[in-house]
Amino acid sequence: MRNIAKLHRSIFTLAVAATLSVLGAWSASAQDAEAPPRQTWSFHGPFGTYDPGQLQRGFKIYREVCANCHSIKLLSFRNLAEPGGPGFTEAQASAIAASFQVTAGPNDEGNMFQRPGQIADYFPPPFANDQAARAALGGALPPDMSVLAKARGYEAGFPYFIFDAFKVYQEDGPDYIHAIITGYEDAPAGFVLPPGGQYNKYFPGRAIGMPKPLSDGQVEYTDGTPMNVDQYGRDVSAFLMWAAEPTLDARHRLGFQVMIFLIVFTGLLYLTKKKLWHDVLHDPELEKPRA
């Protein structure tokens, strides 16, 4: 019978060895793009909150640059004035809305018409439809940016994805967007770019349809923040994270309250349990008589 146990031990060792060796053989084959470097984000961690100044700068970049091609259909002008966001006043949000032309209607004659945006409107898309976007942009379709920061990411790989849970790390999306914005380089010798493609070391396949969107000094900051691509990338990624997850501040705030309650409540349950079970665990009937 001991032989069977021994047999199983050897089978187990063999299985582990086989698994490890084949995993090792895999290594670098699948990843064709570089892993985005991790950035420092104000909204990272259990107590993270958005930085309104950063969101306003990011919004400026979205508006002046991204919005030329990318829609952000799920975002409304009223969101700009909601708590936990860029901190615009309602008057400012209304003014921003009014600077956009939105399609409304039909009117009494049955025609659609253009009017200045109102605070309850959603951000109008730059193109009427996907086909119009493709036609204008040489076949490439810029993705909608509403939840882009949650729809992108990268594999941290084993075992790092386990550590990320403990580090409360959920910022792969903004990391990736920042990396794409800063990842434009000249294609290395021998790399064949498809027509209309740009070399970007962080994009899967390394050939991206989007031309380099931002360069140093392109968007003017008035608060003294450095005006370079690295900073632009961080700011617009933070803005897109907020657009994708506008309730993050509220979530972190409520989360802390819930965690405190649950930990205290569970502690009390434990003490109650301990007291109730004391007599069961120290039942004199079941004590072994001392030898």
Binding site: R152, Q170, A250, M259
Partner: protein
Amino acid sequence: MSGHSTYQPQGPFMQWLERRLPIASFVYSSFIAYPTPRNLNYWWTFGGILSFMLGVQIITGIVLAMHYTPHVDFAFNSVEGIMRDVNYGWLLRYVHANGASFFFLAVYIHIARGMYYGSYKEPREVLWILGVILFLLMVATGFMGYVLPWGQMSFWAATVITNLFSAIPGVGDPIVTWLWGGYAVGNPTLNRFYSLHYLLPFVIAGVVVLHIWALHVVGQNNPTGVEAKADKDTVAFTPYATIKDSFCIGLFCVLFAFFVFYIPNYLGHPDNYIPANPGQTPTHIVPEWYYLPFYAILRAIPNKLIGVCALGLAIVSLAFLPWLDTSRVRSANYRPAFRQCLFIFFAAVIGLGYLGSQEPSGGYVIAARILTIYYFSFIWIILPVLGLVETTKPLPNSISESVLRQGAPASAPSSGA
């Protein structure tokens, strides 16, 4: 297993009710006086945790259903509407989405506990089979729920999983068309998945009632696997089990809340935040983590039909454990060889889970095949054979005797040594 207090209706109304509908005495005997083995460890609290999670999922699900639109053109945006414009909608959705994961986490621990302590053995076969049915229902419900947000992963998971039925010779394709309600995954598919996703949890609740009923007929197993014989082997369900379960539900909630509030998308896939696009296949189609071991088994087998059969058999095999395990000793604590094989089995399932998340190429496929072979060999070969040949450790005569043995060292410090 008897001798604990019985219910005496107090007051004229309760006496009146008792003669007409003895619900109070039923509750009393089932959830207050019900005797539970005194030596249950914390692994036995997952039944309570699962009941709690079922409640959480049903309550959050009903409220989410008030705001969700089951239509291919609106489903994705209605979910985003819940996240943005419904009061605490983000909380409801994140609790429900992560709740599914934690429901499965709890059920896997619950199943593992049942396997380790031989809880499926006579007279608990029906209890165990009801559990396997519950697991199957959970798998179906979870899968259909994952389709509802109508993101890329939703759509392609629905496509891949429904396509499995096309492996059935002859009638496969008509069955798939029938499941889809069309010639591709589309609006009829989404609608029926929504309908069934709403229905099945109540079926689960019904089977849970049967599961608990069967449990209360045969009584709980315990870490020794020796049946409770005398009154001193058991304690009353309330307060002893209720307080212990409550404490563990609290602990479980701390972990659950950590995910909901701090890393709500950690267990999800970014691609599911891309609206479903039938014209564009994602680079990897991966199911939710809790299906990965079975997905790995499916992909480990090159033949589609056999792969699908293996996938089904991997779950259905569990229902036969009461008869495949030939040992009369229940608890793995007294079966050293079984214990070792079982731990390898658990490791194999976790390994399959990891392999299921990776691309099925090269070494990964070979590793998945090795682990799949172990999975089935454990259930169909090792269990029947081991029960006949292994040497088991001596069992205690009773639960109280096993407690006594453990109690002795604990009382040693009080002797002043």
